[in-house]
Structures are given as structure tokens and as C-alpha cells.
């Protein structure tokens, strides 16, 4: 670690520093930062308590940039495009993406106590105040650059996680609703009028939403060798010997059977274009209608 940086870091009593981060293209092009007379061109964030950052261009030209405490200056691209951001507002304070080797990512994570998530060839680090903590780390040899996470990326990742959780909860609720309805006999339409077309001005009842597949396509008796199962038109199933029964539905492209969520997509000639999905645990279960 350059002595100037070490001195800068130990001077944290001066208050929150400003930070400078160069992206991979800027580093490759030769951009660097002059901190108190010491020039650094590393991939880690650079902390400075000066109100002014001195950037060294590839042609050795000098550029002075005003930077306030708590701001993060991003130097981007071969042309050195500048963007002043505020961690926690414009970019995530707790998350950065590592461009470089896996060893470099884990090395950094170990130094700052961060969690690591692999994301298609790059690594996402999570830790409180991570972007500032990385200023004090020793740069791993195979680190190419760091990329701050934009808040939109964080929100999107969180959205995906929450959506997956909600979908799982919906599946579980559907199972429970079906089970409750079955127990209470509410799967039975009450009377003759239930199947009459709606009167003028009356809103037609909507079918339950089971997902993209049409559950009606699955109603009936299915065979596979000696096995036989009946999927009834009220969302219940039973084996042909009545030894197993429960609920079924379709969701997310799968036929879901039973509270244990055992699932299969029956394979056969009349499956309405649904591709068979099976692995070596169920290749013998080729289901077809009589």
C-alpha cells in the first residue's frame, strides 16, 4: 500500500473521506490519481480528505476535480469520463462487483469480512460500508477492477428474490386453500344455476389462475405401465387403487401433485405441446392417456 494512502487512511479522524474509483477501461488507458503527491493507479477505491482530486491523464495531463466528503468520484472509460456519486443514494454503499479472478474476490472478501456471491463470471461482495472499507485493503494481484452496484441493480436483485419468495408463498397458499375448500365441500358448485350463463349486467365468474398452462388439459386418467393416476376436475388426484390422494395444480410450467409438491410433466403423444422434462430418475415414467 502506498505510504500516502496509508497516511490518508490512518487520518480517518479527519472525517469521512471522498473516494475515487477508476474502472477497468480507465485503468487500462493509463488514468491515475495523485493523492498528496503520490500517484496511484490501482483498482481499489482511493480515499482522500482533500477537497480537490488530482487526476493524471494518460497523456500526463492533469485534471483537477472538486470532491466533497462522502462523495465517490467514478473515472470511467478510456476517455476518463467523470461522475460524482453519493454512496447509499446513487450507488450501493454495501455492495461492489469484482472484475478479476475468483481468488482476487475471495482475497478481498477475507480482508474486509464480506460475503461473496458468484454472478456469471464476476463476484458480488456484500459488507457494511464496503466501498470505503476496500480503501484499506491490499490489492490482490489478479484484481482487474471494482464496479460499484447501482441502486437499480440492488433493487432488481432484491425484487427477484422477493418475487421468488412470493411465488413460493402463493403456491403454498393455493395448496392450503384447495385443502380447506375440499374439507368444507366448497369445491362443489351450490346448485343448478352455477353453470348457467351470467344474466345481463352480471359479471361472469373467472376461472382460477393456475399459471400459464391450462389445468383443464390435465384432467383425466393417466397411465404409466402399471401405475395409474386420476386427476379430477376439482383439483384433486388419487391413485387408481385409492391408496394415495391429494391435490394437484399446474404452476410455473409444472404439474404439481400433492402436498409434498411431488411433480412431473407427463410424457406422451397428446400432451398439448408441453415438452417432457424428466431426468434419469423418472425416464421410465412415461405417462399417457388411455
Amino acid at each position: 500500500m502506498p505510504l500516502s494512502l496509508l497516511l490518508a487512511c490512518t487520518a480517518s479522524t479527519l472525517g469521512e473521506p471522498g473516494l475515487v474509483l477508476l474502472d477497468a477501461e480507465a485503468l487500462d488507458a493509463g488514468w491515475a490519481v495523485d493523492v498528496d503527491g503520490a500517484i496511484t493507479d490501482g483498482a481499489l477505491p482511493i480515499a482522500t480528505w482533500s477537497d480537490e482530486v488530482v487526476l493524471i491523464a494518460p497523456d500526463d495531463g492533469v485534471e483537477f476535480v472538486e470532491l466533497y466528503s462522502g462523495e465517490l468520484l467514478l473515472v470511467q472509460g478510456a476517455g476518463g469520463s467523470l461522475e460524482v456519486t453519493e454512496p447509499g443514494v446513487d450507488v450501493a454503499r454495501d455492495t461492489v462487483f469484482v472484475e478479476g479472478s475468483e481468488d482476487a474476490a475471495w482475497d478481498l472478501a477475507d480482508q474486509v469480512g464480506a460475503d461473496v456471491v458468484e454472478l456469471e463470471g464476476e463476484w458480488e461482495l456484500h459488507a457494511p460500508d464496503l466501498i470505503e472499507e476496500l480503501c484499506w485493503a491490499e490489492e490482490p494481484r489478479d484484481l482487474r477492477a471494482l464496479r460499484p452496484a447501482r441502486d437499480a441493480e440492488i433493487l432488481e436483485a432484491e425484487y427477484d428474490r422477493q418475487l421468488a419468495d412470493i411465488e413460493q408463498q402463493v403456491r403454498e397458499l393455493k395448496e392450503r386453500v384447495f385443502a380447506s375448500k375440499a374439507r368444507l365441500g366448497l369445491l362443489h358448485p351450490p346448485d343448478y344455476g352455477a353453470s348457467l350463463p351470467p344474466a345481463d349486467g352480471e359479471e361472469a365468474s373467472q376461472p382460477d389462475d393456475f399459471g400459464a398452462l391450462d389445468p383443464v388439459d390435465f384432467v383425466g386418467v393417466w397411465h404409466s405401465g402399471d401405475a395409474c393416476v386420476l386427476l379430477d376436475a376439482s383439483g384433486g388426484y388419487r391413485s387408481c387403487d385409492f391408496s394415495v390422494e391429494g391435490l394437484w395444480s399446474v404452476s410455473g410450467g409444472l404439474l404439481m401433485i400433492g402436498e409434498g409438491m411431488n411433480a412431473w410433466i407427463p410424457d406422451g403423444a397428446d400432451l398439448h405441446g408441453i415438452p417432457p422434462v424428466c431426468d434419469d430418475t423418472c425416464t421410465s415414467m412415461l405417462w399417457s392417456r388411455p
Binding site: 369445491l187 362443489h188 358448485p189 346448485d191 343448478y192 344455476g193 352455477a194 353453470s195 348457467l196 350463463p197 376461472p207 382460477d208 393456475f210 389445468p215 383443464v216 388439459d217 384432467v219 383425466g220 386418467v221 397411465h223 404409466s224 402399471d226 401405475a227 395409474c228 393416476v229 386420476l230 379430477d232 376436475a233 376439482s234 383439483g235 384433486g236 388419487r238 391413485s239 387408481c240 387403487d241 385409492f242 391408496s243 394415495v244 401433485i257 400433492g258 409434498g260 409438491m261 411431488n262 411433480a263 412431473w264 422434462v277 424428466c278 431426468d279 430418475t281 423418472c282 415414467m285 392417456r289 388411455p290
Partner: protein, 232 residues
Amino acid sequence: MNRRDFFRAAGVGLGLIGAPHLIRDAFAADVDPLEEVETLSAAFQRAHERGVPMLVLVIPEDPGRRWFAGHAFGELLMHGPDATLARLTQVELVCARMESLRLLVPSAPKGEPHMVLVQTDRVPAPSAAVKVDLGSEEAWWGDSSGVDTRIEAQAKALDRLLPAVADEGRNAETFKARLRERVPGSHWASEGGCGTTIEGVENQRMYACGMGHVPQRSRRFLYFFDPDELVY
């Protein structure tokens, strides 16, 4: 759970599903229940593909009433008014006992109605009973006066339930042409005063002389028994 575990669990779960013949043991011996459910299942899917409801002509559990109901259905299908027969082009017909129907459609009405209309566009599938007063069974045998009453009662119930169809005459003819084929779940049969012939079944003729005069419009009827078993 990843996909591999998912299907492994499926394999374990489905390993519990037993042989199809066992379902037969849960029913009376005269009708193969699995075959009946499969017939219903196929009719349900045909109806779904056509975008029409499935109309189940209910086979009574009581053998005596089976004869009566089979003849009543025959009278309607063979000699019903055009307006009603035209409407029947807009349903998928099938015959089954309520016990089998309830396996496929647990929401089916209670009791043993004359017919059940099952919607095939959604799950759970709504169903509705078509109740018809066919009059006294005792008064039927040998008496032609009740034929009109039975046809009218059945037609009235269906006309109330099924939407009208344009070009009734042509559609009624279309429907009658289909009656050369079996109504799934039954056999067509015909009888005079001294025997019954089941259509499409060789080496069978059941003689039951003495049952009296069979009205002309009652002679072709739906036979709800196993053709291999003689029924007098």
C-alpha cells in the same frame, strides 16, 4: 429444492401409485369403473377441445331403472324435437354412473339426477343437475301414451339449460346422423316384444318374450349393461 431433487421426489411419490385393476375392486362388478372413468375422461377432453360442456346421461345404479332410463334417453335422442336435438350438437354426450362421474368431477350434484351438465373450460369444473320427472316406471311398460310426456319433459329441461342453436333443422339432422355411433359409455340396442339386439355386438340376442308391447318410438334405446352378460 433443485429440479433433480424435485423429480427424484416425484419418482418416490409416484411409486406409491398402484395398479389400475385395483380401482375395479372398489365398485360393483357389473360395470368396469376404470373403463367408465376413462370414458368420461376422454369425453371431458373432447368437450374441452371443442369448447363445449359435457352432458352426462346418468346410468342409474338400480338395474331396473337402467332399462327405464335407457329407453327414455332413446326416445329423446331418436325422436326429440329439432330445437332440442340441435342444442345437443353443442355438448359432448357420454353415459356414466354418478359414482364414476364423481371420481372425475367431485363437484357433481348429489343424488342421481337424470343428466348432469359439466363445464369443461376451467378447474374446478362446475356442474349442474338436470332433473327430469319421467313419470311412473310401472306405467311405462307396454304403454305408448307416456312417450310424448317423457320426451317433452327431457326436452324442456335441456332447452332451459342449453342455448338455442341457429338452423335447428340442419343441426338436428347433424345430430341424428351421429346416432349411428355409440354414445360413449353405452350401447345402442333395439327390441321388439320378444327380444333385444345390441348393436355392434355379435352372437348375442336376449329373448324375453312376454314383456309386452314396446312402443315404436321406444324400440331403439341406450343399453347400460355389459353386453357379455345376459340381462332379462
